[in-house]
Symmetry: C2
Subunit: 330 residues, 2 copies
């Protein structure tokens, strides 16, 4: 029963979010060279997790979903902008089972489509909110945006840096991934006119959920059901310093020889080595460490909003969204 209500509530929120995204694109009056790759990206089957968090955060602070909708659209457009540019940098051929924009069109189109999305996201903030709210949102977006870029630069730089510690990784994913989650929830509080204290609680919630989400993502790369033609161990084949790799290097002396060259920037190339790493992860407790870490971020996230926000259906849905990431399979 509760499940049915939840799903229905998500559906109506999703409809509002999709409408706001479609409005923003229509209003930009783009030529087909830009409109098509941008629509392709935004219709690409994303789960709309971040904009849902924005709408729910605003609602948990007493605002209507409609008030939060343009902001939520801006969050989703900003997120997709980073994906389009990241896919070029990571040379990723596929996203959500479809060719990435730079593959389907070309690099120029992908760069320019991403840039345009950025302009559209900021325009939403200036057109739908009063001046003071707009100023706060632009400050939040810009700070987040710079942090996301720094996080992406660190992620790239880490591949060739042998001495990446777990604490470096934690800082990097806080920027690259969790910051946008934190901005999604904190800015939801901002448009609801919430107090600083409440905004901080929602920021903390978004941060914890984002951290858990990224660690789960790292685990799923090696242990999830390969989805959409994505290769198992894609991160390892790209030489990324993920939670899995750093935890394994820390915990498992028998993995050291196998990881020695990897830590210096040489990707894992063979399926056999990928399997060997997966086996060592199971033997050395890497999965347990990941789950403990995920649980601790989620517990902190949930506690932050339970402490600060009054009970409400929206707060319950935020908690449900967090709980879903405890054992995410996709």
């Amino acid at each position: 029963m509760a499940h049915t209500t939840d799903t229905h509530m998500f559906d109506s929120h999703l409809t509002i979010i999709e409408g706001a995204i479609a409005d923003a694109l229509a209003k930009a009056h783009l030529p087909p060279e830009l409109a098509e790759p941008i629509a392709y990206t935004l219709d690409g089957g994303g789960k709309r997790l971040r904009p849902l968090l924005t709408v729910l955060a605003a609602e948990a602070c007493g605002a209507s979903p409609h008030r939060a909708a343009p902001l939520a659209a801006a969050i989703e457009i900003l997120h997709n902008f980073t994906l389009v540019h990241d896919d070029i940098m990571d040379r990723s051929p596929l996203r959500r089972g479809k060719p990435t924009v730079y593959v389907r069109w070309d690099e120029s189109t992908a760069i320019l489509a991403g840039d345009t999305m950025m302009g559209i996201a900021y325009r939403l903030l200036s057109e739908h909110y009063d001046a003071e709210t707009c100023r706060q949102l632009v400050a939040e977006f810009s700070a987040a945006f710079i942090e996301i870029c720094i996080g992406q630069a660190e992620d790239i730089a880490f591949r060739y840096r042998p001495s990446v510690a777990m604490s470096d990784y934690t800082e990097m994913i806080a920027r690259k991934t969790a910051r946008l989650f934190a901005t999604a929830t904190a800015s939801g509080a901002i448009v609801a006119g919430a107090s600083d204290r409440t905004s901080q609680a929602l920021r903390r919630f978004g941060h914890g959920l984002g951290m858990a989400f990224q660690i789960q993502d790292d685990v799923l790369d090696l242990f999830g059901e390969p989805q959409f033609g994505k290769q198992r161990g894609q991160d390892l084949r790209e030489g990324k310093k993920t939670f899995i790799v750093l935890s394994l290097a820390d915990r498992c002396s028998s993995a050291r020889a196998l990881l020695e060259r990897y830590m210096h920037g040489e990707p894992i190339a063979s399926d056999a080595d990928i399997e060997r790493i997966a086996t060592l992860c199971r033997q050395c407790g890497v999965l347990e460490e990941a789950q403990t870490t995920i649980d601790s971020y989620l517990d902190d996230a949930i506690a932050a909003i339970r402490r600060e926000l009054p009970p409400s259906p929206a707060r319950d849905l935020l908690v449900a969204a967090a709980e879903k990431n405890r054992t995410r399979t996709l």
Copy 2:
């Protein structure tokens, strides 16, 4: 005497602009992977024309240069962001005599450095202005930014479109080039709290100056002193539909055979063909048409501010900046 005063006035403005740019970069606390390419770009010997226009526009409307400085820095950072990304798209090896960012570092760095600059530019707007001014500036920046991206997409698409008319070109450069000039001057008026009417006059000034600037740029590509190791006729070697090419195709029947394949997307490859085109331009009055068009944009630009703004040293400097573009050689 007047010249000395002008130079001195520009110098003090330039010092203020450089200070605002340096402050913005320092405040972003970027890791070297991003700080270095961004500093390289912003220290690359740009003339700071756009931010100078911003400061002068604000001053001509009664504001202090200091008030306009963070905005001017944002304009210059936005401009340089477009250069870093455009150079990737255009495969340009050199800018201002130095290797471009994607050549000196790599494409990922150039994409990410550009993105970061965008975040820094917007942050300046939210941190240095009151809420209502910030909202207006963000609206102006975002609309401009989207137009600039559309203009760049058109510029690329035109290369393979045989039927580009002079009016298409005019619309394209209005977006790709003149819009940022118009935003530079109009936003200067905004931070000065000028009336809509005054902002419109300054927008018109920036637009006219930007149009003249781009047509002059097209002329200089073929007839200017080759600067900084840039090849003569670079635009033609990239297959661009410039003022030169479109005017020549219109006016000069003996150029038609030479331009037939060019109009369908095949760049001019040989020095001999570049020379032939230059000769035909001289014979068929292309240079005169360019000068007439430039003069008419500049006359309109200057008239717009002479009509609307009271006489002031800043207004005189705006006029001087426009006049400089009548016969620009660099």
